[in-house]
Symmetry: C2
Subunit: 664 residues, 2 copies
């Protein structure tokens, strides 16, 4: 069957240079080239097919992932890929696997927390995958509160060893990916006990399995924690449980860059500042923000393309029905998500810069920006992952009933994405950290300590507390300066109000706890301001390509104004805008949505996703949705036979009234 591009009419409508936008989205020509090459490499290799994944039982699914991981590693070696290329290739394989933890957590933990000597010993083994590692922190009863971990590492001076032990059921390590069935080694976090004293949680390299036959080493009980959300999703990963019964490791396997235990069992802090470890946290959270943008953009790409293909109602004189994307309700739900995907892309880019900046400062022993950088990354991690999880599900609903089919790609995208709201810091706990930082910032206003970085707007607090938004007509809402100031004023006023309310309470801790819901909302207001302002800063740069900057300006406006509408309660209750101005926001958004409409498909094409990566019949590049849905259906194992397994035992006797005597 000849396949024509059903979305060609949409593509021809667009008013900007899509190829130039692809470079902007990728971040650079170099980044685009690598992504493009790796995505095609994966898409063209049948070994990486993923369409049948959802029908597999757990064991087959897991074995299939082992196969793909080995194949990916083989290709990486054969093609002599760089680290950057290899990482992109794994991204496009698009299947959670033990290798994510090996490369993303085990190796960085040794790099960040190991001494030079330890790095020289362990990193070459890890780089060649002669050992496979995971990151064993979370326990069955302990997640957010890392300081509450129960696993112990007790130094035994008699043998110069640590004894790693799980004293209770709740101290079992629980969740680490790659732990359940694959990893040979782990960085294990445990309470360091020496000389009868508890020195808190530290990292230790522990071998878990024999390198010869993969059997668990003595004293180690290890397994998989069972099925998780979704058909495929994270069920390709062996999240594990691990229980230690007095397992001995050499003293040298404590990660000793920051703290040491001597041969005599003395605990010592090294002169390496502990703050260096926070650099890693900034790094990890920055990648999470980048991932949010990827996940949201995939969902938006699917929903946008299918909204152009799908038609419903509005047929006139027997002509075709109206494209769903032309309904204003569809636009007002979908286009802010599209704009958000771009917004998160650019704030992720900026966080990448921030990480470099923080790292350089730390190396120069400058810790001054660290609290602000930490609050900022924590807040953005929380904001972007919560919104993205909801946004993917909203995209699924925007596809109508067919979004519920696995072949739409959306159920799996959701199921594989949602843990981001919980891992690396529960989103509510993180916002409370941001709130704590903001309360401190507010309390220091007027002192010598000037607010820096993303809080520098607080330096203009007097102006922000009393400024008035002068929007009079809908078009006034297209001015970036106007938008930025209302976001600043809203964030400043909400945080000042919280600080005042906290101060009225008997004591600050109690006040903070009592008002924590308000504090969380004020922290969100601050984080949204960061995203808006970084999008605007991006637009200050030179951006090449016909019409590209205009589209980005439009997206930035839609992003910001849709937030003003969604949170109009904040803007109104703080007196930042008036009811009249709030209603002008809606009018201006309608006008912006209409401007965006002809460019919608081109704006998702700019993500440059292959059909393989999208994994969605609804989001196919060529829009050839219905024949493919029909074709896909027949591949389900249930369709192997016309009469299903179980007919003779269960359906026939029912129809023939023979159940009463049947033994079921």
């Amino acid at each position: 069957m000849e396949v024509i591009d059903q979305l060609a009419p949409e593509r021809s409508k667009s008013q900007f240079d899509v190829d130039a936008m692809k470079i902007v989205w990728a971040g650079s020509q170099h980044a685009f080239d690598i992504s493009d090459r790796m995505a095609r490499l994966v898409a063209s290799d049948p070994a990486f097919r993923k369409d049948y994944r959802v029908t597999l039982g757990r064991k087959e699914l897991f074995k299939n992932t082992l196969r793909k991981a080995a194949h990916a590693w083989k290709r990486i070696i054969e093609l002599r890929l760089t680290e950057e290329e290899a990482s992109k290739l794994r991204t496009f394989v698009d299947e959670p696997a033990f290798t994510d933890l090996h490369w993303g957590m085990f190796v960085p933990a040794i790099k960040g927390q190991g001494t030079e000597e330890q790095q020289q010993k362990w990193l070459p083994l890890a780089y060649k995958m002669q050992i496979i590692g995971c990151y064993a922190q979370t326990e069955l009863g302990h997640g957010s509160n890392v300081q509450g971990l129960e696993t112990t590492a007790t130094f035994d001076p008699a043998t110069d060893e640590f004894v790693i032990h799980s004293p209770t059921l709740t101290s079992s390590k629980w969740w680490p990916g790659g732990l359940g069935k694959v990893s040979t080694h782990a960085v294990v976090y445990a309470r360091l006990i020496t000389d009868g004293k508890d020195y808190g949680v530290h990292g230790f390299i522990v071998q878990l399995r024999s390198l010869d036959d993969h059997s668990a080493l003595p004293g180690i009980t290890v397994g998989d924690i069972g099925m998780k959300f979704g058909n495929g999703a994270y069920n390709t990963m062996d999240n594990g449980v691990l229980h230690f019964d007095h397992v001995r490791i050499p003293r040298e396997q404590m990660l000793m860059r920051v703290s040491q235990v001597t041969r005599e069992g003395k605990f010592k802090q090294s002169d390496v500042p502990r703050q260096l470890l926070y650099g890693t946290m900034v790094y990890v959270r920055q990648t999470i923000v980048a991932d949010a943008s990827s996940a949201l953009s995939r969902a938006v790409c699917i929903a946008t393309r299918y909204s152009c293909v799908r038609r419903q109602f509005g047929s006139q004189d027997g002509g075709p029905e109206t494209q769903v994307i032309d309904y204003k309700t569809q636009q007002s739900r979908l286009f802010p998500l599209l704009a958000t995907a771009y917004a998160y892309r650019f704030v992720g880019e900026w966080l990448n810069w921030l990480y470099t900046d923080v790292t350089q400062r730390l190396q120069a022993n400058d810790f001054s920006t660290l609290p602000e950088a930490h609050a900022c990354t924590a807040g953005l991690k929380s904001l972007t992952t919560s919104f993205t999880a909801d946004g993917i599900e909203e995209c699924r609903k925007l596809c109508g009933g067919h979004g519920y089919l696995c072949s739409s790609g959306l159920p799996e995208l959701f199921a594989v994405y949602v843990p981001a709201c919980t891992y690396e810091g529960d989103n509510t706990v993180l916002l409370l950290q941001v709130a704590r930082f903001l309360m401190k910032t507010v309390s220091q206003l007027g002192s010598d300590k000037k607010p820096v970085g993303t809080t520098s707007y607080m330096g203009r607090i007097e102006h922000l507390m009393q400024c008035r938004c002068d929007v009079q007509r809908a078009e006034d809402w297209s001015k970036p300066g106007v938008i930025l100031e209302v976001f600043e004023a809203r964030a400043a006023r909400m945080n000042v109000a919280c600080a005042q309310n906290v101060s009225k309470m008997p004591n600050p801790e109690e006040g903070f706890s009592e008002l924590s819901s308000d504090l969380v909302e004020a922290a969100v207001a601050h984080c949204q301001l960061i995203v808006v302002s970084k999008f605007m800063e991006k637009l200050q740069q030179d951006i090449a390509g016909k019409g590209v900057k205009e589209q980005l300006q439009l997206l930035c406006s839609i992003y910001a104004l849709s937030l003003v509408h969604k949170h109009q309660g904040d803007f109104l209750s703080t007196g930042t805008i008036t009811a009249k101005q709030a209603s002008l926001v809606n009018a201006q958004l309608r006008s912006f949505n209409a401007q965006l409409r002809p460019n919608a498909v081109a704006l998702v094409d700019a993500f440059n996703y292959t059909d393989h990566y999208l994994g969605s019949v609804l989001g196919r590049y060529d829009g050839n949705v219905y024949p493919k849905l029909y074709e896909e259906a027949w591949k389900d194992p249930l369709n192997d036979s016309v009469v299903p397994d179980g007919y003779h035992e269960y359906i026939y006797p029912m129809l023939k009234q023979q159940l009463r005597t049947a033994r079921l």
Copy 2:
């Protein structure tokens, strides 16, 4: 191991009679008795176990459902259960199956749309399950717009038959549950064509499969449409695809209660009013609202119990950490969901009354309340299902990382629930229908046509447009009259504003379309008012049991005030409340949450759910979570062996650097 009730301290705190609340929740002593008996019957029968469901591949999963359905039918016959009991039993089996459509759609369609004669012929067969039926309406390319269906039923006077045909790919029936592998018959919706004229969509009884060997009849192509969201969830159901190639059925198999085709091929309307069919729609949507309350209450029950078991941070002097439920952020997210579950329960109860009322009126040829009843059920279906879907996911997040495990029960609950947002009317499309009705209501204000039922508050429009909320202290927000009036004023003002804005547009249709997002929000405001007012009406009744009414009053206040907070933008922009009053809402909510806290576990105990029905390790009645999580983990098929399948092919060669030469 002796199991003690870890939640006993929570239960002893409660301040009301839980057994009396169970009756209130169930609706009556009779309803409670049946539910309780059926739930225990299912829970105690090992044939209905469901804990291993998520690890099964598609074919095993489906066969397992056939087994359960047959077993349930066998038990129903053996125990001579009433229709009411049988329906409850199926509810507690808690697994979507073809029987849902047989009893819930096929039988009611024949009852509602069949003539007396047709009912006498088909119903006995269906009641005995000598035939199994489904409801084939939706097509691959046609969902919401029923009038756009493409399947044709062309009358052939030569043979006195209809020829059922699928003229295009997109006309394939797509989605009907029970169709794919099981049903022997279907009510098929098709365009009736006779005498060369298209008379629109009608229902036809069509046999699909042989009653002897289950083979598809000539001209019929039928199969399953493939995997859907979730591990188990709706994958136990054979949602199907069906293509007709000129399939002939006797003329008598057109459902002819409302319209007929004569032997000569003449189309005739009967004297049965077409509006009777809307009664069915009211019925179906009322059950969906009841289901929303069930689904939400299950999620809330799990999250509430686990929030009491789970502890994090706040350990003092080495004592236990703080119960998560004591954090204000947890309370402000969880308690409104608990209150909403109760609110939906009571509005569902009221809808049940409304259905009875509408039915009686229809039988007396009184159609006057039908538009209002229709708008009201459409709106409540939309409101409750959207909120419930989000609420289940919120409960999952409130359980932290462990909520992501299938053994928490929450992933499956979400996956099996979300289609409710799309089936029986897409939620946005439904709200637009409500909006259309409300715009009409507003336009008739001042005329002879007085607003009735749930819109009767519009009769006081002059007062509502200018009334002022006189809340001055937080406690003022505990007055039902105050709360009701702000909800009425907000809904009235938003709808009047929409009507005014629509009227400013060049023409009403264009205005309606252009402003549809605002109209949807105004419709939501109206529907929330209905829920609030029906909860308050419930509280006017005599309610037995120590402290029961007080708890319900508290829940009603939390429900309403949490909405005021969430939608404060609406209340502020319409001038219904002031910024100061909005902040007093937060203060009062904190106080209400503190009052609810000691009763939280007892309030979810009142749902009377068995551990089998909850299907959640986190939500266990006895709170014995961690040992059970640990125990459950080892049941995963991946733990059948220490060394996983695939180790020798894929992991060993990687560790030993032998991949380069391996053929994968």
